[in-house]
């Protein structure tokens, strides 16, 4: 194998913020005081927060050093399954930082915010075109809030028909947020086991679906990276009993320009703009989780909605059946700007992103399946799921493999998810990685498989080259220390 990308670099130590500084310093430049001081009522006046006082350079150096302890997409390949860690284009930051978009107030009179409203209107249209579902809201602030909104829309639709249903079907391959969102809608989750091919069986759905079940929450492609081939039959069964189908669009990166979501029988789909549409993950948000719905569900979308009237863009509250509001304003607008920039840059070539994402995942699957056990040896979509079955004999686990990968300069794949695969290693390369990078990843994974056979002891000490070694998570949970 060639020289690995990971090396032991120069890593600085850096204390906590309040372990630095001296009273009376500040890194902030106050504007000139051009008004007099004014009295503050004694019973309300406080002492101000006990923050450390630091210089500007103290702060700059602190956060620069901290950043160097992190691994990001810009550092190296980040094949974190189900998270679509694709490249976050720099030009999107320029666009989102334009003063008109970055500093505009959300409650400006509408005639003074036409630029933002037009952008939102056009983005809704593009997302409708990409999914095949005609109506869109951009309001949900993240995928999980999109799920919640979607389930609220389904609830409201059923209520408008005079129905109140109490259950919802959720496959065992679903994201953990699905059952939690259902609970917030007052729905009890009924788990559906996938079949031996890793997909939903029509018999199982027919057996479980009844007239007290609001519908089905389905991820397609599912979290095993497999396309639900019987999806149309499955959704027909749900619809025949008066239920609706919620689609988790977390894996949209596999099927853009290829699948028509409406044809699948999906009534509501959420999108993760921070996955499929290249907006940065920011160490865990902000994301954005728009939902796209069928015409029948449009009246129930959150308000306000952006509409066009006589060439002007308006925020309309005039949707009496709407579920209400999920965000104080219009959602994570700054993230919408980035996704919009990405869509305009890719344009009609957007389908190629999905084609290459799927090509890369299949290439990895074929290149590693002789050394790592494949949970389901079938053509995959944009991600593939291995496990540690072949390494178990040497007492090397999925966690060990993940930690060893770091030493070679790669972010580990998603591990121990989906729950249906014991010791899962879920690899999602995305379309933005080059063949050379993917080949280096494959070489590294093969080297690790060999090391597991020949020198398994070294795994338990990995990683050695990182800022810290394996941390005691049990102690952290037993005696939580959440502030300093």
């Amino acid at each position: 194998m060639k020289e690995p990308v990971g090396t032991t670099g120069l890593i600085f130590n850096e204390p906590l913020l309040w372990e630095r500084g001296a009273k009376g310093r500040s890194g902030f430049s106050l504007p000139p005081r051009d008004v007099a001081s004014s009295h503050v009522a004694d019973d309300l006046r406080g002492d101000g927060p006990d923050f450390p006082d630091l210089s500007e350079l103290d702060v700059v150096r602190h956060f620069t050093r901290l950043s160097q302890w992190n691994f990001g997409v810009d550092s190296g390949m980040y094949p974190l399954g189900s998270c679509t860690m694709k490249y976050n284009p720099k030009t999107n930051e320029r666009q989102a930082g334009l003063p008109g978009l970055a500093v505009s107030h959300p409650l400006l009179p509408q005639e003074l915010s036409q630029g933002a409203l037009k952008m939102m209107f056009d983005l809704q249209h593009y997302l409708a075109e990409i999914t095949g579902l005609p109506a869109v809201t951009l309001q949900p602030a993240a995928g999980s809030q999109g799920e919640l909104t979607g389930m609220m829309v389904i609830n409201a639709y059923l209520q408008s028909k005079g129905e109140k249903r109490s259950k919802v079907l959720i496959p065992d391959t679903a994201h953990g947020t699905n059952p939690a969102s259902a609970t917030l809608c007052g729905l009890k989750s009924v788990a559906v086991k996938s079949n031996e091919q890793g997909i939903l069986s029509t018999e199982k759905i027919a057996e479980l679906m009844d007239e007290d079940t609001a519908g089905l929450m389905v991820t397609n492609p599912n979290t095993l990276g497999l396309f639900e081939e019987d999806i149309q039959k499955v959704t027909e069964i749900v619809h025949a009993k008066g239920g609706l189908v919620y689609g988790d669009g977390a894996n949209m990166n596999a099927i853009m320009g290829i699948v028509d979501i409406q044809k699948l029988g999906v009534d509501v789909l959420h999108l993760n703009l921070h996955k499929t549409f290249s907006t940065p993950h920011g160490g865990g948000g902000p994301g954005s989780g728009p939902i796209c719905v069928t015409e029948a569900l449009e009246p129930f979308l959150p308000v306000p909605r952006v509409i066009e009237k006589d060439g002007k863009y308006l925020l309309s509250e005039d949707f009496p059946q709407s579920v209400g509001k999920l965000h104080a304003f219009y959602g994570n607008f700054g993230i919408l700007v980035r996704a919009y920039s990405y869509i305009l840059t890719m344009g009609a070539d957007l389908h190629k992103a999905s084609q290459y994402a799927v090509l890369n995942a299949n290439y990895i699957k074929e290149s590693l399946k002789d050394v790592y056990h494949l949970a389901y040896d079938r053509p995959c979509m944009h991600e593939c799921v291995f496990n540690d079955k072949l390494q178990a004999a040497h007492k090397v686990t999925t966690l060990d493999i993940a930690k060893r990968l770091m030493e070679y300069g790669f972010h580990p794949p998603t591990i121990y998810f989906p729950l249906v695969v014991q010791g899962a290693i879920m690899v999602e390369p995305t379309e933005t990685e080059s063949k050379e990078t993917i080949d280096a990843f494959i070489d590294t994974m093969r080297t690790i498989a060999q090391e597991a056979r020949e020198n398994p002891e070294q795994f338990h000490e990995a990683p050695q080259t990182t800022k810290v070694k394996r941390l005691d998570e049990t102690a952290a949970a037993r005696n939580p220390c959440l502030t300093g």
Partner: protein
């Protein structure tokens, strides 16, 4: 050639060969024909970076912002100066392009930052624990009330009408599907909430107040503490949209709040037409296991070296799938990072001075408007926002000000029909005396 797609035709051929198919379409055979699109994507032709810049600049130009416009708007979204150092630090790729710190050994930057965020937030709010953040102030308030319902096992909450009207709508949306009841508390002539209207406290899981409230008025939290905690179980929820106020005024924790939550956009995050913001969420320590959202804790590594990890994950949805404390999965990591940098760069001293300046500027404009013959609607201390009452038929004045590039406050009538001709004004450190004088002059004319 597309700069985000690196494959050459040779790469593609070699990879297809390894997979054992002839062309890219053959990778999609598991998708039935009947599930496929009828036509290719109908999207515009790809834009070059040059064309994109021109297009986006044109959209951005169609917005009213400073310096061309003088915008005296707050109402949950505030214009505070963001130091250049923060903008630069935030663009560090390792911060920006990382995800949830699932692998602590290579995520210590994110983890330590969020631990620092949690700590500084507890110091700002006078609370014991804070989570790693929620989506925004509105959904944070909804989550706080759901938490009170979980803790007390009661089914009813009370919410002051002096809380941001848009937050109250989000609360109503979150609580509707499960059928929990939301009772509204009226506000009095002085702009403060009328807690005497509450009735039987034992029914309530929690009582929520905002301070400074939507009208900018400081609530009497001392009286609220005595009244709400007369029932041992009822939780006092204090929310906010302008946390800078706690640089000058007493914190929610000093009035014994059980939960303090609100919007943290003020802390170094641009307004960005309303989002992304920062849902700040803190509570008393005894409730930590009922708290929604992610938490970072301190620990040690194998060599005994200090490090940080995601902790108490058993509350979260990837472990307790349907009985999780919330469905929230991520947080607003980057916004929490901005807030940490902002609190650090101001420091305790800078934060207090900035708060005092906001207050004093608002008091100046208040006095000037009064001198110009206008009425300040509520006689209660405020921070950097206040309500001005204009003579009847004020729309013409408001429009005339707009025509002269002044966005002179938020008309309150759409939110409070009884407050026709009332406007919510906001003044921060970015409003100069000259701007305020120009506004008053324009109003007088």
């Amino acid at each position: 050639m597309m700069r985000y797609l690196p494959h050459t035709s040779d790469d593609i051929a070699a990879m297809l060969q390894k997979v054992g198919v002839d062309n890219v379409d053959a990778l999609f055979t598991s998708i039935p024909e009947s599930c496929r699109r009828d036509a290719p994507l109908d999207l515009p032709a790809p834009l070059s970076e040059w064309e994109l810049n021109a297009h986006m600049s044109e959209l951005a130009a169609d917005m009213a912002v400073a310096p061309q416009y003088k915008v005296f708007l707050g109402a949950g979204s505030y214009d505070h100066y963001i130091p250049e150092a923060i903008k630069h630090l935030l663009m560090r790729s390792e911060v920006f392009t990382a995800y949830t710190p699932y692998q602590p050994e290579i995520s210590q930057g994110t983890l330590q930052t969020i631990y620092e965020y949690q700590t500084l937030i507890t110091r700002l709010l006078g609370m014991e624990v804070a989570n790693a953040s929620m989506y925004d102030g509105a959904s944070g308030l909804a989550e706080a009330l759901l938490m009170a319902i979980r803790v007390t096992r009661r089914k009813k909450v009370a919410v002051s009408t002096a809380i941001h009207p848009l937050y109250r709508r989000v609360v109503a949306t979150y609580l509707a599907p499960t059928g929990y009841e939301v009772v509204e508390i009226p506000y009095k002539a002085d702009g403060r909430s009328d807690l005497t209207a509450l009735g039987n406290l034992e029914e309530f899981a929690g009582v929520a107040l905002q301070s400074p409230n939507f009208f900018g008025c400081l609530e009497d939290l001392k009286a609220a503490d005595e009244l709400i905690h007369a029932d041992k179980k009822t939780m006092m929820v204090v929310c906010f949209s302008e946390p800078l106020a706690y640089g000058l005024y007493k914190s929610p924790g000093s009035f014994n709040a059980d939960i303090a939550c609100g919007e943290g956009q003020s802390l170094g995050i641009p307004r960005a037409f309303g989002g992304p913001g920062l849902g700040v969420f803190a509570a008393k320590k005894k409730y930590v296991r009922s708290m929604p959202g992610r938490l970072i804790g301190q620990s040690v590594d194998k060599d005994g070296k200090r490090g940080f990890v995601l902790t108490l994950a058993t509350r979260e949805q990837h472990i307790r799938r349907e009985s999780a404390t919330s469905n929230i999965c991520s947080n607003q990591g980057l916004c929490a990072t901005s807030a940490t940098m902002y609190m650090a760069i101001l420091g305790g001293t800078g934060f207090r001075e900035l708060a005092a300046l906001n207050h004093d500027k608002a008091e100046y404009l208040k006095a000037e408007l009064q001198a110009a013959g206008l009425k300040i609607a509520f006689d209660t201390p405020t921070f950097n926002e206040f309500v001005v009452q204009f003579p009847a038929g004020s729309q013409a004045t408001y429009q005339q000000l707009l025509d002269n590039n002044f966005v002179a406050g938020l008309p309150l009538e759409p939110y409070y029909p009884e407050l026709a001709d009332h406007y919510l004004y906001c003044v921060t450190e970015t409003s100069s005396k000259a701007d305020m004088d120009a506004l008053v002059k324009e109003i007088k004319s």
